[in-house]
Subunit: 343 residues, 4 copies
């Protein structure tokens, strides 16, 4: 089949590749319709590796996908050919200890699309376990379906935060994950979000999506704004989607006594942590990794209109222009949030 | 001052009554502007008692109120004359054990407006602790401010439920508390509400307020509808706002494995509880009593527009027509949700 | 192989039965060494059914077992022949929705030993999934290993209770489950247990096992004793291991504001539930069904000596006397707690 | 009255000081009988300050105390003269926002004994709120009563950890707080503790107090030991009582997927935090500050014998030798855990 292949760092091909996939009893075969480009896809393209994961052989990119079921295995009962679906890109070992506890995202043996050496989904069809394939509500398009994966990260963060209804939250970072986290936190119970970034166009877009107060970190002091708006009490929750070395300290400073910080961004190096500053507030710090069990929840919130991801899809490309799509991502405009490829 | 006084069962007066109130250092004096009529006000009017609470002497009614600060005690720092506010009607003993644990609603010595022998707030002014007086956001009217008290019940229910973002919930009962619980559950993270009642007009009103699926319990089988809509899995959460003897059994039947039921309605008699039916789902059952710490959260959600209570205010009366307002409440139309009195 | 077979109600045989079991890749074959008799085994013997589960064909009894690994499947890495082990008797469908969430005990398709039509383990060997087979610490005997199953019920109850260190608990019922729940609650953080029953010998035995205050329900008023001992505040937690119709009401009365009740016992009929009495305390009611993920925890607590189940094993029989063991169980003395059969 | 006064850094006096204290309606007057020396007392003595808290005027030291009630205010109902008691040393502002939420330890206006400018309790009598004064069980001595304060730190840590019964925990640091945390974690539900330190005598003492595995950090690799003992899974919980810059990284490495770390020790500088290492395990990090609501729990656990603090009291001094006690603390032997002064 013809796929978008990362041959090696900085070299993409749209070419034939042999990807024999047999359909197991609990699998479905899916025709891919839309795939979003994630920061990790771009990072593999630009650097050939992410930390210990190195691209040593040609690898198909892409892990944010929606499509149509073509064929089902004999043991599949809740999906049928023709169903419009989106997919979780990581398949854990079902016998792993973390998996059995219900925390399958922590299984060290997970096979995740477009994480070397596992091929991604920028190709016409994939075979996937039915248990990780989810039917799209009728009001959710393929483009929106392909946004469920990044939304799941934000929704998982919102879930681990244990939001109490009406909580005030800070989200640091107005890239796709930051904005989706803001939307997830609002849908998940927050009354208001303070969203900080240094790029005004992204903040401007996000500010129109709900009770989101944009804070331009170049011009305003996040902590001061939050403390002023909360009667010097602080935010109930802080989500960091930047991974910036100063985010943790800023988050602790913005937090109310007894509040919680959720670390989504992945800093490249250890960051300084002022433990005592956190202790005097008994800050709880949650760290998250991908997501578990949230795809159905994301779809339910999109179905009811509580989350609308469409404004975040800023550029779309045809599959034949897939390499151009990566070029666009590599030189992203300040207004770019999410680039998708249609098959 | 002139107040709406329940002289005895079925006998209301709008008359002068001496209510000397001295302003303590941490108190504020408030001019009352709007008071809602609660089911408990009506019950005292019609029956002269609620359970062990018997009206043995003339008592001013009313506990859902908003107004304007007239005067503050010398120790009050966060309110000022002219502030538009709403008030929590129950004042706990600050030294009580439950209060100190942060669960002041469970303090047995709480003094609650319009619960005998404590006078309510259907009168021109009250003195109230600043700690239980909350400033209204500029976009929240007195009428909406007087809705915070019943909304607080629903919001407390939503909080105790520990909603995970995207949860599907059932709410039984489409009176004011039921609808406000539905709105609170949606604002608090639910993706969808199945709301059941026997009165079509109330369901019709509620169905326009968000992703709320009305279920006319006379015509449809709630459990069957929920199971069908959830792929035979069941609702994540069930809220009962009816107190009906069959609500618990129905709630257990509608629940998913590992779900939770929140009991808000207060049945007059013990209800039958099929423990085994709950056990096979490991149902968690939360019981709630009034609310604690949720007024600021309710106001934050009204401020951001996530909760709009205005459609629920169906009738309004002038203070001089206060007795007629109770007459209206006693013979409520199917379209009546909340009746308020303006001072 | 020779097994203890319930031919039909009230008729047991120790006889040859063909039980062909093939060893799958992730299975182990186990030589059974000790099996405890559970109330459910006895109930099937005496009544031929438990609720909807009816013995329609000869069925091997027994589900509380320990033994030695004889053989392992090719995919088994963490067990080896010769390992001393105990086993969880219920095997869920690994693809079921509850299973994937980590709550496999709620899977409706679970296959549970000695629950019709699934054969139990009163036989020389069984084949079992390695994932539900647990190595015994060196200081834990087969007899103790066969106690892990009933202990797991108590430990799951203690886990769902969410004990805060130092909590005071009530346990109703001093049968095997009640006493094991008391031991689990103490090991799990409680400072003190009030244990009620009507049989003085069981209470006497239990009172020697830790800070357990026995309450003879025929002579003392549980609620009065608890309230007196807690300065009229009430117990933090109540565990019911009786299923008695009055247990819930008594539990609510004994509870402190904000406390929790865990319902372990399974009443034969719906029980009366005074919702308002629970509401004024905001009682949380947890219902539990068997257990999940607690076998390793039970073994860890037995390994460290925090739980010692040996005093509860009051009678032991040889396998050839297995029918007599059931006779003993059917006419249990007041001093009998747990009867075991050694193979 | 005669008190042990820190005149300034490194200069202690046992001298008369005027400390006029009037008994409020909800206060009690207490004759002090035993006071333990805390690391903070020693730090003020040696350095004249802890962070922003600087001793600018003579200050009485001591905040770990037990004594006898001499006199009660007219509003006190649950204490009487002659009662043997211990006291929480921090008195929050009862109107503060954190206090009202039940988290009074986070109130920024707390007045805490022996934290400048508030005098401590190394003196014959103190006046204290009854709400923060707790009656000792009859089997708890004054010496043990004076250990409740440091035990409360460990017990609060154990509470915030949310131990599940049978959890395996690591405690770093075998000083008083570390060992008390280990005892609290065991009493609170852990099955086993790995306790690390560099001082063999402290480890030797601790190893005799329960299922505590000592790890000499100079000779053994904590992470390797824990991973080996847990089948390469890791510890459920890690408590750091050292504040050492490497503790967090080591804790993350020793943790199982989904585990939690509680930071008790207070590093003098920001510590490096490898966020990604925590994320791949979704580590939860709790920070704690002193304690709230745990004195009664500590006493309940001492009453039942689940926690025995007596082995930790290694040196005792008469009040007249109080200055020598501080000298002993300043040059502590490796076997010293807790030094107390009797009045």
């Amino acid at each position: 089949m013809k796929a978008l292949v990362l041959e090696e760092k900085l070299r993409l091909s749209l070419r034939e590749i042999e990807l024999p996939e047999t359909l197991g009893p609990h699998d479905v075969r899916i025709q891919i319709r839309t795939v979003g480009i994630c920061g990790s896809d771009l990072h593999y393209f630009q650097h050939g590796a992410i930390g210990p994961f190195v691209v040593r052989a040609p690898m198909v990119l892409g892990h944010e996908a929606a499509g149509v079921v073509l064929e089902i295995g004999p043991g599949v009962t809740d999906l049928a050919p023709g169903d419009r679906v989106c997919m979780e890109p990581g398949i854990p070992n079902s016998l792993g200890r973390a998996t059995r506890l219900g925390r399958y995202n922590l299984d060290p043996n997970v096979r995740f699309w477009a994480t070397p050496p596992v091929h991604g989904c920028l190709r016409p069809t994939v075979v996937h376990p039915a248990a990780f394939t989810f039917r799209l509500p009728s009001n959710v398009t393929f483009a929106e379906g392909a946004m469920v994966e990044p939304l799941a990260v934000g929704l998982h963060a919102a879930t681990q935060a244990r939001i109490a209804p009406g909580d005030v939250a800070v989200v640091m970072g107005a890239g796709p994950i930051g904005i989706l986290t803001a939307l997830a936190a609002l849908a998940g119970g927050c009354s208001r979000i303070f969203l900080s970034d240094v790029l005004a166009p992204k903040l401007g877009l996000a500010a129109g999506l709900g009770p989101i107060t944009p804070i331009n970190a170049r011009e305003e002091n996040l902590v001061a704004v939050v403390r002023e708006a909360t009667g010097d009490w602080g935010a109930d929750l802080v989500f960091d989607a930047t991974g910036h070395p100063s985010a943790l300290a800023q988050g602790v400073a913005a937090l109310r006594p007894g509040g919680a910080i959720v670390l989504i961004g992945m800093p490249g190096q250890p960051v300084p942590f002022d433990v005592v500053a956190a202790q005097v507030k008994e800050a709880r710090i949650e760290t998250i990794f991908r997501y578990a069990h949230v795809f159905p929840r994301a779809l339910a919130l999109m179905r009811s209109g509580k989350i609308d991801v469409r404004p975040l899809i800023t550029e779309r490309f045809e599959f034949d222009d897939g390499i151009a799509a990566f070029g666009c991502a590599a030189q992203a405009k300040p207004t770019t949030i999410k680039i998708q490829i249609d098959l």
